[in-house]
């Protein structure tokens, strides 16, 4: 039986723990983005299939359409958050040395942000920059 002598409530102590060191937040965001990805992936597949065989001007016209661009931006955001969380779980399961684990988790975050930033930049340039 664990004593509860600290000023923090049991819930307060549990929050922020767990293998991800961010407790339920990680779990919840993984599920939330999974639901978003379910919808956005279907839309993304439709967009990509619609682009097959299109010459450059037609492809750009489609990608820079406001509705398509907004859905692409949402997909990029949701997918990058989801894949970062998923890869973090894999790292935490297979990388046991603490220093390597921290480096891998950092590299994972940088990767997700870099891919996301490049994709968002491209979509916005297509929409606004011509």
């Amino acid at each position: 039986m664990q004593s509860n002598s600290s000023m923090r409530t049991p819930l307060g102590r549990v929050r922020g723990l767990g293998s991800a060191k961010s407790g339920t937040g990680h779990f919840w965001l993984q599920r939330l983005t999974a639901v978003a990805n379910l919808i956005l992936t279907v839309i993304f597949v439709f967009i990509v299939v619609a682009l097959v065989g299109k010459p450059y001007p037609a492809a750009i016209a489609l990608l820079s359409h406001p509705l398509v661009a907004i859905l692409m931006l949402l997909f990029i955001l949701s997918a990058c958050i989801h894949m970062r969380l998923g890869m973090q779980v894999i790292i935490e399961d297979y990388v046991h040395e603490e220093g390597m684990k921290i480096l891998a988790v950092m590299a994972n975050t940088f990767f997700a942000i870099a891919v996301g930033a490049a994709s968002v930049y491209a979509v916005l340039k297509l929409s606004f920059g011509g």
Binding site: A34, V35, V45, V49, V52, M83, V115, A118, S119, L126
Partner: protein
């Protein structure tokens, strides 16, 4: 099949570099876009795209099982086997559907 979810997830993770590169190529102009399209249309490009589309469908359908498990259901051995088969069959069918549409509209 949990390993399959991790393998497809990792494949999709690494493949985002290609999606980002393709979008950046589109934003860079006609020459870069044509090059990207040529690479995507090559035999190796199509093979990668086919594996990517299957990974995407497998991870998506396989993810549905996690929602079932999150609700505290589907832990019985028969149910788990049925869901594993369902994942494979449905994701393969969706992948074939995508490629039939792609080849028909090309």
């Amino acid at each position: 099949m949990s390993v399959a979810h991790r393998v497809t997830g990792t494949g999709l993770y690494l493949g985002t570099v290609l999606i980002a590169a393709w979008l950046v190529a589109a934003a860079s102009g006609p020459a870069a876009f044509d090059t990207a399209q040529w690479i995507a249309g090559s035999i190796l490009g199509r093979l990668v795209l086919f594996l990517y589309s299957f990974s995407l469908m497998h991870h998506m359908v396989g993810g549905l099982r996690h929602f079932v498990w999150d609700m505290g259901k589907g832990y019985e051995p028969q149910t788990r086997m049925a869901m594993a088969k369902f994942t494979l069959v449905i994701s393969a069918a969706l992948t074939i559907l995508i490629w039939v549409v792609v080849l028909a509209t090309r």
